[in-house]
Amino acid sequence: MKNRLKVLRAERDWSQAVLGDKLDVSRQTINAIETGRYDPSLPLAFKIARLFEQAIENIFEDEIQ
C-alpha cells in the first residue's frame, strides 16, 4: 500500500524517531510503513490520520484501484 507519510512528516520537519514517539511506535516501524514494507493496522492508520488531521484515504492509497 502506498502512502504519503514521508511527505507529511517532511512538511512538519519531523524525524522518523519524532513521529514514532508521537504515535507510540518505534522508528523502525515508521521506516517500514514509509517504504511500503509494512501496512499498519486499522487502529494505527486512524492514529496517523488523527495526528496529521487528514482522512485515512488521503494518506494511504489502495493499490487495487
Partner: protein
C-alpha cells in the same frame, strides 16, 4: 512503556536467565561426575534450568505484548521459524532413530535448537524488514 524500555528489560532478563540456565546445566554435570550427591538432589537441581526456560518464555511473551505491531510481527515470524526448525529436526531425527542407526538425540537439545533457529531467523528477518535486532 516504550519499545526501548521493553527491549532493555527483556535483554536484562534474558541474560540473567541464560546465566542461570548455563550454570544450572554445568552444575548438574559437575555434581553428577565429581560428587556423591544423592540422585534426588540432582533431580532437584534440574529445577534451575527448567525455571530459566519458563522464565525466558514468560519474558518473551511479555516483550512481544509490549512492543509495537511491526516489531511484534517480526518476533512472531522468528518464533514460528524457530518452532518449524525444532519440530522438523526432532521429528526427522526421531524417524531416523526408528528406522536407521543414527545416534540418539537427547530431547534436552530442543531448547538449544529452538534458541539457535529463533535467533538466526530474527537476525535475518530484522535485516530484511528493517526492524531492530534483539
Amino acid at each position: 512503556m516504550t519499545h526501548k524500555q521493553a527491549h532493555r528489560r527483556y535483554m536484562k532478563l534474558s541474560a540473567a536467565l541464560m546465566v542461570l540456565y548455563v550454570v544450572g546445566i554445568l552444575g548438574l554435570s559437575l555434581a553428577e561426575k565429581h560428587t556423591n550427591i544423592p540422585r534426588v538432589a540432582l533431580y532437584g537441581l534440574t529445577g534451575f534450568p527448567i525455571a530459566a526456560i519458563f522464565g525466558w518464555m514468560w519474558g518473551l511473551w511479555r516483550y512481544v505484548n509490549e512492543i509495537d505491531e511491526f516489531l511484534r510481527a517480526i518476533q512472531i515470524k522468528s518464533i514460528m521459524y524457530g518452532l518449524t526448525i525444532v519440530m522438523g529436526v526432532s521429528t526427522g531425527w526421531g524417524l531416523l532413530e526408528f528406522y536407521s542407526e543414527v545416534p540418539r538425540l537427547p530431547i534436552f537439545y530442543v531448547v538449544p535448537i529452538f534458541s539457535g533457529a529463533y535467533g538466526i531467523a530474527h537476525i535475518i528477518i530484522s535485516r530484511r524488514e528493517g526492524g531492530v535486532c534483539s
